[in-house]
């Protein structure tokens, strides 16, 4: 029973959602189920957030490696949670948006979380360069094609590309790099994308069916 009921739930819910596309009065099931998902996700956070706290308190208690940083994590979590849940310093009262300008919550976000997030994101620039240097090699025919396409797009989307081939007469304008870049985007790139996208669509259908039919059930855990 412990396994049958969940399998049944998956089957019924999955089938209902598929059928709802064809039955207008069921059209809003999708909406309802999505709200349910959002609500479940909040409850799940009690588990996730609790786990985060547990891991770091544990680190602290056992004085594991780098334990002092756990204090910072716990403090950050608690402060931000308090600022958000109690809407500390929010203009107006509890009815205002949690991230209303001027609140402690939005101040911490802007002065701490934003710079961190943006910087972490910007590390990509460095990694792109190191990957370009180390890994993008014309090792074989496939890799060579990848490189050539990348090159033309890179050039074509920058002012260099415009300069390099601006002497090409307009009658053969396709040979100007920016136009070549556009053509690559619109033809071969599009073709590759389509093949991948159609493939993904079929992969999703097949996997979804396996899940709905209960062939794939590892996420339901063991018998105990």
């Amino acid at each position: 029973m412990r396994r049958q009921i969940p399998l049944l739930i998956t089957f019924v819910v999955g089938t209902l959602l598929i059928v709802s596309v064809f039955i207008p009065p069921f059209g809003e099931l999708e909406t309802t189920f999505n709200i349910w998902f959002d609500i479940i996700a909040v409850f799940a956070f009690f588990l996730g957030g609790g786990n985060l706290l547990r891991v770091h308190i544990d680190k602290l208690r056992k004085k594991k490696r780098d334990w002092p940083f756990s204090i910072v994590t716990i403090a950050g979590f608690v402060v931000m949670l308090a600022a958000g849940l109690f809407k500390i310093n929010n203009p107006g009262d509890i009815a205002s948006a949690v991230d209303a300008p001027g609140s402690l919550f939005s101040d911490i976000f802007n002065s701490v979380q934003y710079p961190l997030s943006a910087t972490m994101y910007s590390l990509l620039a460095f990694f792109v360069a190191s990957a370009s240097y180390r890994a993008f090699r014309a090792k074989n025919r496939e890799a060579t094609l990848l490189l050539i396409a990348a090159f033309i797009i890179l050039l074509g989307r920058t002012p260099f590309g415009v300069l390099v081939t601006s002497w090409v007469p307009d009658s053969t304008s396709l040979l100007q790099i920016p136009n070549m870049a556009i053509w690559i985007m619109n033809a071969p790139n599009l073709a590759g994308q389509r093949a991948i996208i159609i493939g993904i669509g079929l992969g999703v259908i097949s996997m979804s069916l396996r899940l709905i039919l209960g062939l794939e059930r590892s996420y339901l855990g063991g018998e105990k």
């Binding site: 909406t31 994101y121 180390r134 090699r137 890179l154 920058t158 389509r194 996208i197």
Partner: protein, 336 residues
């Protein structure tokens, strides 16, 4: 000298640099701009060091990744001090978006969805600013929303910036009548789905807490059929793909998009299939739009620095490959 000592010296140097320039800033000194000869010299030095890296690599030594990192940092930072101008060519999908906006009759309602957060702002913010500016210049009404929590905040920043312009400020636009920020709504693509039935069901009130039915601009806006055009600024999921799949495919919305450069290639599929009406991709998309809208701003300013960064990336690919061929394809380069 031990590594430790070197690290301490480097740290002290950075600290000194910061202190000196911060004092300089507090003293009220303005921005630094390189004279032309210095700009040229810097460019030459950057080129020369690239050559040096090439030689080292051909000799079979991969330079350390940290050197690559340092190099990238310098190549991106220094051009920000230079002032050279460059030519911009406008791609058709940028022109398409521009045309779609200018062809709208005065008073048309444009839905702007801000589906990104601050990390993507360097790319998307300049686009958002120029599109908002263009719309307001042409007396279009803006309905702003966000599928990402921090989107509406980005929209407010962009609005503030645009209102700094005299010609826009002179219009004396009114919140709630000429533009409105409905705020963020969680639920990803399903927000779009529900908006297809009714906007109000997803946005009971706007960002400032005014009830939907009390906002003159949107009072009569029931769903997508009351919107004339829309632009989605997207940095990932949920974003343009979801807007196309739901709002365009199911509800027939007329949609243009501003995307981060990384996302943009995937959108050509939709552009080509007519599901998208115009597209701005990355910082160059922003610069091109500024060019076609004839208003130079941030996007154009960063272009030089960006061109340098591209040159560096291209150079690194070239160096890697030249070395790869010169040292014989079989002997694999080792290094970290």
């Amino acid at each position: 000298m031990t590594t430790r000592t070197k690290e301490i010296i480097a740290l002290v140097a950075v600290a000194l640099f910061v202190v000196i320039f911060y004092i300089r800033k507090v003293a009220g000194r303005g921005a630094i701009e390189f004279p032309t000869w210095l700009s040229m010299l810097v460019i030459l030095l950057i080129l020369a060091s690239l050559l040096w890296i090439l030689v080292l690599t051909i000799r079979g030594r991969l330079i350390e990744r940290r050197v690559v990192f340092l190099y990238v940092g310098i190549a991106v930072a220094l051009p920000l001090f230079m002032s050279l101008t460059q030519k911009i060519s406008v791609s058709p999908e940028v022109k398409q978006l521009y045309d779609a906006i200018v062809e709208l009759p005065e008073g048309s309602k444009v839905l702007l969805s801000f589906d990104y957060d601050p990390p993507s702002a360097p790319e998307l913010q300049p686009m958002a600013e120029s599109i908002i500016r263009l719309c307001l210049q042409r007396d279009l009404k803006l309905i702003i929303m966000g599928l990402w929590p921090q989107g509406p905040q980005q929209a407010n920043l962009a609005l503030e910036k645009v209102f700094d312009d005299e010609d826009i400020a002179a219009k004396n636009l009114q919140y709630g009548v000429d533009y409105v920020n409905l705020g963020f709504q969680s639920g990803n693509e399903f927000v779009i789905q529900r908006m297809g039935g009714s906007f109000q069901s997803m946005f009971q009130s706007d960002y400032e807490g005014t009830r939907y039915e009390d906002i003159p601009l949107v009072r009569n806006v029931r769903n997508f059929s009351n919107v004339d055009f829309s632009v989605n600024f997207s940095a990932g999921f949920p974003g343009t793909v979801e807007w196309v799949q739901i709002a365009v495919d199911r509800f027939g919305l007329d949609l243009g998009a501003g995307n981060t450069a990384v996302q943009a290639p995937q959108m050509y599929v939709y552009l080509n299939a007519g599901q998208l009406n115009g597209l701005l991709g990355g910082m160059s998309g922003a610069a091109e739009f500024e060019d076609v809208a004839d208003y130079r701003a941030k996007g154009t300013k960063f272009m030089l620095s960006q061109s340098f960064a591209h040159a560096v990336a291209i150079a690194f690919i070239l160096i890697g490959n030249v070395a790869f061929f010169m040292s014989g394809r079989k002997s694999r380069l080792k290094g970290d």
